[in-house]
Every structure is written in structure tokens, then in C-alpha cells.
């Protein structure tokens, strides 16, 4: 196996060097760069990148102590793998010149042809590299989101394969459909920052995977509760912060639409937190922190497709709607249906994304953003129909493609860890590490084992 790996590595290196060296970036039309917009999108990219570690803590706090590192490892693995995949071929599949309205061609393979000057096709006031980087961050967080559905039981090697295949075969095409010149964008579907592309696609794929690999051991017997709520709060805070980059940055310029997106994002997060907590307070009598942060994330998910198109007051209504819907879903419907979406990747992102995509078709208003469209409330029947199509198409494609990917992987390596590994915990059994050394022996000194 080592030999095979080495050969593979050498081949890859050779490929990279050939591409990298023989094809210097072409200095193209040299459109002028707007420093304000460029500053904005660079910083937004960094903020979106931070969402994935944010997710690592949001999710990491929810799992049991024995699995916290496995979640963090999955998030970091996604950051690493998708970053490289994107540079090599993800970007060109998503944003390369359109092929049949479904996928990009290979013009930008290895970022060949991408330069420090703006591209005339996308975001023509910022350097093309910046557009590449910004879009990359969306690919990362989307793949990372899925992991919440099958937390605490997936084999890491299977996860690596899954991420690579999923981002290439599911994310890249859907991103192309909506934002890269593909058929959904042509149809007029509005998805400001990724309600379908990011949240529905990840939520649905997570659900499919959770069903495919089955429940966690003991799930039916016990309620599994978060091991570290402050981590979940920290993660939610980083998500909220990064989401500003996500949604406001999706204006691709530091303008009034970005400002609108910023404000409605914050408003809907706030209203989502309030409505979730209100729902649970009425339901079982206690307002919980877990409810507050979950509601905020649900609000952020819901506003994502709508961010540049709706008024702050509409954002209040959307937040008030999405909290109880998601709460009902994760506390009751999930239990009824009996699947084990460990950390509610579908319950929050799938459901919240669906609410948001449809609400966009209701609340979008050209009075707020003349570049948008009018939703149901403002007499726009067409938009709502298109949003339904976009949601439906994403559900169907994400589900089928994910199923296929899982089938293929399970022929190569078991998707799930052994029962014993699961009982011991993934941190020790898969990664050979413990999260909290200080819980073990030796209050003052942790000196584990004799050096080997």
C-alpha cells in the first residue's frame, strides 16, 4: 500500500508541476479593481472560513465527550480536502464556462487562467482570485454541515472519500445550476447566499446518510445529551459572526444590498432565537440556551436565500416562523419518524433552508432591492413557483446522488465503525487521542504511560 501511495503522490506532484509551471496565469483584460469591494470580499471570505471551525464547536459541544475530536477532525478534514479539490477542479466545475446548463467546463482546471485581475464574468470589480476564494468557503461549510447528521459513528476513511465525492458530484453541480450560469439561475430562482445550494443540499444529503448508516448504538434506549454546552454557544457565536460574511458578502460588493443583507441576517437570527425559545418555554416550561442558539442558527439558515431581497420587518416574520417549525421538527417529528440525525443537520439546515427558500418566494420585494423579484405577497406568482422547482430539484438530486455515493463507498470500505469502536468512542478508536487529558489521572500532572 505504501508503494501505491508513493506512486500516486509522485504522479500527482508531476501533474501539478506541469500544470503549474507551463501555464502561467494569463494577464487578461485587466479590469480595474475596486479596493473597497475587494477589501470587503477578502474579509468576508475569511469570516466564512471561520464558520467551519465554528461548526466544529457548535457540533462538538453536542456530541458525547468521547467523540468530540472526531467531529472536529471531520470539520478540519473538510477544510483541507475541499480547499485543495476546489483549486484543482472544483472551481472550474462550478464556475467554468457553462456546459449544457448543468456543469462548468474544465477551462479553469488547476486555476489555469485565473489571475490577479477581475474576471469579466463574475464580480467584475474584484480580483478573480478573490472570487475563487470566496466561493471556496461556501463549498467548505456546505460539506462540513452534513457531518452533523451522522456524527458519532462514521469511519474516518469513509468520510474522506465521502467528502471528496460529495463535493465534486453534488455541491459543484448544484452551485453551477444556481450561481454558475446553470439552469436554475436561468429560470430565475432566487438564492441570495445559498438556501438551496448550501443548506438544503447538505441537510438532505445528511438525512440520506443518517438513514443509510443507521442509528447510533443505544440511541433508542437513552437520550444522548450535549457534553459541553459552552462550546456549542461558542460555535453558534462564530457561525453568527461568519454568517455576516456569508450573506452580506454574497452581494459581491460593499454596497447597499450588502448592508441590507447584513441587517436582515442579524434580524432573522434574533427573531429565530426568540421564537424557538418561546416555543419551548410554552411547551415544557424552560427557556434553554441550547434552544436560543439553535433558533438563532435556524434563523440564519432561513434568511440565507432571502438576504438581499427582503425588508428587515419581513426578516422578523421569517425568524418568528422558522424557530417553532424547526423546534417541532427536531423535538417531535424526528422522534416520530425514528431516524437518527444526530445533531439535526436536516432538522435545522434542511428544514430551515426549505422554509427560507419558500419564504423568499413570498417576501422578496423589488421595493427593497430593485435587482430582485417580487414574491407572493407583492403579487409575484412566478417567483414562488420557481422557488418550488429549485427546492424540489435540490432535494431530488442531492438525495439520489448521495445515495449513489454511499453505495460506491460502502463497496470500498465500511461506512460505519465497529460496535466496539463506537462504544469506546471515535476519538480514541479512530484518532488515538483524548480530548481532555485533564479528566484522567493526575490532577496536577498528566504523565500518561511510559515512552515507547
Amino acid at each position: 500500500m505504501k508503494a501505491k501511495t508513493s506512486i500516486g503522490m509522485v504522479l500527482m506532484l508531476a501533474f501539478i508541476m506541469v500544470v503549474g509551471i507551463t501555464m502561467p496565469a494569463l494577464a487578461a483584460e485587466e479590469l480595474p479593481v475596486d479596493t473597497g469591494n475587494t477589501a470587503f470580499i477578502i474579509v468576508c471570505s475569511a469570516m466564512v472560513l471561520l464558520m467551519t471551525p465554528g461548526l466544529a464547536f457548535f457540533y462538538g459541544g453536542m456530541v458525547r465527550k468521547k467523540n468530540v475530536l472526531s467531529i472536529m477532525m471531520q470539520c478540519f478534514a473538510v477544510m483541507a480536502l475541499v480547499s485543495v479539490q476546489w483549486v484543482l477542479m472544483g472551481y472550474t466545475l462550478s464556475f467554468g464556462p457553462d456546459v449544457g446548463s448543468v456543469i462548468g467546463n474544465l477551462n479553469f482546471l488547476g486555476l489555469h487562467g485565473v489571475s490577479i485581475f477581475p474576471s469579466p464574468d463574475y464580480a467584475s470589480t474584484i480580483p478573480h482570485y478573490v472570487f475563487v476564494a470566496f466561493q471556496l468557503m461556501f463549498a467548505i461549510i456546505t460539506a462540513a454541515l452534513i457531518s452533523g447528521a451522522f456524527a458519532e459513528r462514521m469511519r474516518f476513511s469513509a468520510f474522506v472519500l465521502f467528502v471528496l465525492l460529495w463535493t465534486t458530484l453534488v455541491y459543484d453541480p448544484i452551485a453551477h445550476w444556481v450561481w454558475g450560469g446553470g439552469w436554475l439561475g436561468q429560470l430565475g430562482a432566487l438564492d441570495f447566499a445559498g438556501g438551496t445550494v448550501v443548506h438544503i443540499s447538505s441537510g438532505v444529503s445528511g438525512l440520506v446518510t443518517a438513514l443509510f448508516i443507521g442509528k447510533r448504538l443505544g440511541k433508542d434506549r437513552d437520550t444522548i445529551v450535549p457534553h459541553h454546552m459552552p462550546f456549542t454557544v461558542l460555535g453558534a457565536a462564530l457561525l453568527w459572526f461568519g454568517w455576516f460574511g456569508f450573506n452580506a458578502g454574497s452581494a459581491l460588493a460593499a454596497d447597499g444590498i450588502a448592508g441590507l443583507a447584513f441587517l436582515v441576517t442579524n434580524t432573522c437570527a434574533a427573531a429565530g432565537a426568540i421564537s424557538w425559545v418561546a416555543a419551548e418555554w410554552l411547551h415544557h416550561g424552560k427557556p434553554t440556551v441550547f434552544g436560543a442558539v439553535s433558533g438563532a442558527v435556524a434563523g440564519l439558515v432561513a434568511i440565507t436565500p432571502a438576504a438581499g431581497f427582503v425588508s428587515p420587518l419581513s426578516a422578523v416574520i421569517m425568524g418568528i416562523m422558522v424557530g417553532p417549525v424547526c423546534y417541532l421538527f427536531v423535538s417531535k417529528v424526528k422522534e416520530k419518524l425514528g431516524y437518527d440525525d444526530s445533531l439535526d443537520a436536516f432538522g435545522i439546515h434542511g428544514v430551515g433552508g426549505t422554509v427560507g427558500a419558500l419564504a423568499t418566494g413570498i417576501f422578496a420585494s423589488t421595493a427593497v432591492n430593485p435587482g430582485g423579484a417580487d414574491g407572493l405577497l407583492f403579487g409575484g406568482l412566478h417567483l414562488f413557483g420557481v422557488q418550488l422547482v429549485a427546492v424540489g430539484a435540490t432535494y431530488i438530486y442531492a438525495a439520489l446522488a448521495t445515495l449513489l455515493i454511499l453505495k460506491v463507498i460502502s463497496m470500498i470500505v465500511p461506512l460505519r465503525v465497529s460496535d466496539e469502536e463506537e462504544e469506546v468512542g471515535l476519538d480514541t478508536s479512530l484518532h488515538g487521542e483524548d480530548a481532555y487529558g485533564y479528566d484522567d489521572m493526575g490532577v496536577n500532572d498528566r504523565l500518561v504511560g511510559i515512552q515507547s
Binding site: G218, R221, D222, E423, T428, G432, E433, D434, D439, D440, M441, V448, G449, I450, Q451, S452
Partner: protein, 112 residues
């Protein structure tokens, strides 16, 4: 009176509690321990340094009861906590001289 001390797999704690409820044994004291018996070492790695872990997390359950309840309780603990593999844990039985309930000052049997 006796004190029964069972060092068990952490994952068996819930079942054990349920079983004790059925026996109407409610009083118990529980804490985390690390232990080893016949279980083998595990390896961990930190930046390439191999570390050998030879202590395993267990839960210790202490139940103080009347002499005549010991057999029943020990029997039940064994049933619930046995998987048949190494690492299932052990039960220790100690003599105890007296028990006092602080809230009422009751002593001995009444205090259980």
C-alpha cells in the same frame, strides 16, 4: 450491613440504575474512576509520540445495604453488567459498622 462496591463499564450505568430501581434499591453513590484488571493497553499518538494508555475509565457504584440484601443485589449487578468480555468490572463487598441519615439523625437500618 455491608457495602457493595461495583466497578463497572460506564455504559452499563443506566441499566444498572434501572435494575436497582426494580429491586427498590434507591440509595447509591457513584463516581468516575480509572482502573485496570486484565484489560490490555491502548496506544495513543501525539505528534508522532506513541503513548500507552493502561488505565481505563470505569464507574464505581457504591451501595450500602442490609446483610440479607447483598446476594440479591450482587446477583442483579452481575446479570446487568456482564457482557462476558474482559473489562466487565468487579464487585467488592466490605463490612460496615453504621449508617446515619443526616437530615433525620436516624441510624442503622432505618437510615438506608
Amino acid at each position: 450491613m455491608k457495602k457493595i462496591e461495583a466497578v463497572i463499564r460506564p455504559t452499563k450505568l443506566e441499566e444498572l440504575k434501572t435494575a436497582m430501581n426494580e429491586l427498590e434499591v434507591r440509595g447509591m453513590t457513584i463516581y468516575n474512576v480509572m482502573g485496570r484488571g486484565l484489560q490490555k493497553d491502548i496506544k495513543q499518538y501525539y505528534r508522532g509520540q506513541e503513548v500507552s494508555v493502561d488505565l481505563f475509565p470505569k464507574v464505581k457504584v457504591e451501595i450500602v445495604c442490609m446483610d440479607n440484601a447483598v446476594d440479591m443485589i450482587v446477583q442483579r449487578i452481575q446479570e446487568v453488567c456482564r457482557t462476558g468480555n474482559i473489562g466487565d468490572g468487579k464487585i467488592f463487598i466490605y463490612p460496615i459498622e453504621n449508617v446515619i441519615r443526616i437530615s433525620t439523625q436516624e441510624q442503622g437500618e432505618k437510615a438506608l
